[in-house]
Subunit: 243 residues, 2 copies
């Protein structure tokens, strides 16, 4: 069972500053932890679980688990209702260089809502998009709310943070698409083999600097009167038509 | 300014029981209230706003507003961060009978997450779907979290609650589609002029009883490894292909 200082330390990983300092993050709940045991076992540094979870899972997990009581779990959890198991993981290594040839990459400009960010990672994983390039002001993928919303897809999709202007400036000879309120009907673009697809902030859209790099503007035709679509929903629709 | 008892009364509309008793609900924030002033002015019973909002809007709203201070607004608000204006509205009248001929209707089976529910209403509005039929255990559309997530689309889309088994049993001669993990590729179904599209609960899927009524199973092909798509994202993708 984690001591008082250790509990405080694990709790502190709810904040970006501490995650960055330690290079660690937290994932919780049986479903998510089981997924991460599948995709990212080597990243798991510590595992805390209640007796019930250990009893059901000890035969296959093959890594040490610390048993905790419900109330101890509550002290280290980021969730309102702690859920059986908590893992402390090393952040994923993305490597230095981003290769965009021969594949589709998502580019996120200022997606700040953690739920949207996590849902977008899950959508990318559903459609087989392997990497996401984010502006530096996007929500942190290791934010507990993002992690929970990814439902385990975080272990399968590479996410990079970079200065989008500088990075886009270096991308030569690749098609750059952007989801906008006006542009070519997404149903008429066809299936892509390669390209960058930029998704912008729901209320502010895509920033002017980033727009300069766009070769093709695409849109989801509006038939009714809603003012906008949620950024994650728009991403799902676009990937469904273009992949 | 609302007295203590009035404030308590408005606050109580955060709970379904009180909304049902009073036939009222609450909507907050400049954007949402402006939309509802456009679509549903006749439903607005009371309007509370800070001085700043009144100054900017009094010239066009043409209904009485009660000025409140920030701290008074906090006492009647359902939001963590109250946002300038709060409206108390009469619930929408949907009428008795649901007509499904010649149009596309969404049918929701046990969509319980308020954020998903609100986002689905907004998606329906985007794609021109005018009505949604919900099982009785779906989230209440007048739940403050649903209302906020609809971004004003609540005033344009009709939402009915009913016993889905009984209701579906009465639907003769209309195509009934359902979004499932296996079925016909959504990209090959084509555009529909008429039909019911059933969306199920994200973790439990569509209930067996409801499945019995389905004529055509449709699916969003999975190319990667994510286990599922969020129900609202799936709705967006399906409507984008079928409308």
């Amino acid at each position: 069972m984690p001591g008082k200082l250790k509990a405080k330390y694990i709790q502190s990983l709810g904040q970006k500053k501490h995650r960055d300092e330690e290079g660690l993050f937290v994932a919780e709940g049986p479903k998510l932890v089981a997924e991460l045991l599948g995709t990212s076992r080597e990243n798991i540094q510590e595992l805390y679980a209640v007796k019930e979870w250990i009893k059901e899972n000890s035969h296959w997990i093959k890594i040490p688990v610390t048993e905790v009581s419900e109330s101890e779990l509550e002290k280290i959890s980021q969730l309102k209702t702690p859920n059986q198991v908590l893992a402390v993981l090393k952040k994923f290594e993305t490597g230095e260089s981003i290769t965009t040839k021969g594949k589709i990459s998502l580019v996120l400009d200022t997606i700040q809502d953690p739920g949207n960010m996590g849902t977008i990672i899950r959508i990318a994983d559903w459609f087989g998009v392997e990497q996401i390039i984010c502006s530096e002001d996007c929500a942190d993928i290791y934010n507990p709310k993002v992690i929970q919303a990814t439902m385990g897809s975080i272990g399968r999709v590479k996410v990079f943070y970079t200065d989008l202007n500088k990075w886009l400036n270096l991308q030569k000879g690749i098609a750059i698409y952007a989801a906008l309120l006006e542009g070519k009907d997404v149903r008429k673009v066809g299936v892509l083999k390669e390209g960058l697809i930029i998704i912008g902030n729901e209320s502010k859209g895509i920033s002017d600097n980033v727009l300069n790099f766009v070769n093709e503007k695409i849109t989801i035709p509006q038939k009714g009167k809603a003012e906008s679509l949620n950024a994650a929903v728009a991403t799902g629709i676009i990937l469904s038509h273009l992949t």
